[in-house]
Amino acid sequence: MKILSVDDSSIVRKIIRGAAEVLQYDLLEASDGSEALEILKSNAKDIELILLDWNMPGMNGYDFLKKVKSHPDYKKIPVMMVTTESEKENIVKAIQAGASHYMTKPFSIEELIKRILECLGKGES
């Protein structure tokens, strides 16, 4: 069982790794959308959730989200945005593009775990 973390911050990916380990998920990591698409090519069947930052160099999170949600092999993978972008219009934009959940930074590890479980259908909404 795998989670894909897409964030240009290695520290954020390390924090997410801690949460994934608690939940006994393997974590795949990408520092931008292009790298994440490469990872999806050979791992899509095993990935249960994508945690996605918005502002990244190269392919940003929004563009990556649109690509994922238009690809027949990836579009059913739930995506939670994990980002500093908190403006309502951006939240709406991401949800309309297919993100199923949205979490703003900063976040505690407890909140992250709770939200991951919600995304996976294993927690309270």
Binding site: I11, I15, P106, S108
Partner: protein, 157 residues
């Protein structure tokens, strides 16, 4: 002399930095009575910076000693201090300034202040100071929690 507007701005950034440090690392920080922005000694330090484009552009900065950065990043990630690499510390400080800017921006949504977010970056070295030209408006504070010191500043261009 800063207008009341900018003093008000400092209030929101103060909330943001306190929230971010507490949420991510678990530290309750408070403004130091020491009015100096600069850290106590000349030990190696890391400054995380972000340009805030706005009607009055500004640069947001947080500066911590290497030791403080290690403590913060260790608490953020759960990785013991002695297992952290230097790039973890730079990235940690960069991410903190990113979150502080993002949180402040959301707190300021219903006010007259607004700014954009840009790619944060860090500088690292020993015994450097941020030197401003005369009459550049700035808001600066030092935050502390035990031995932890965070120099915080917003410098208006």
């Amino acid at each position: 002399m800063l207008s009341d507007n900018y003093t008000d701005l400092l209030k929101y950034f103060s909330i943001a930095i306190e929230e971010v440090v507490h949420t991510m690392a678990g530290f309750e920080i408070s403004a130091s009575k020491d009015p100096s922005f600069f850290l106590r000694d000349d030990s190696p330090r890391i400054s995380g910076l972000m340009l805030l484009p706005s009607s009055k552009n500004a640069i947001l900065s947080i500066t911590v000693s290497l030791e403080s950065a290690s403590i913060l990043v260790s608490y953020m990630t759960g990785i013991p201090v002695d297992e952290l690499k230097e790039e973890d510390l730079y990235d940690g400080v960069i991410e903190l300034v990113n979150m502080i800017a993002g949180r402040a921006k959301s707190l300021l949504i219903d006010t007259t202040h607004s700014f954009g977010l840009t790619a944060p970056f860090a500088i690292y070295g020993r015994d450097y100071e941020l030197v401003l030209k005369k009459n550049v408006s700035n808001l600066s504070k030092k935050y502390v929690s035990g031995d932890l010191e965070i120099g915080f500043g917003i410098f208006f261009m």
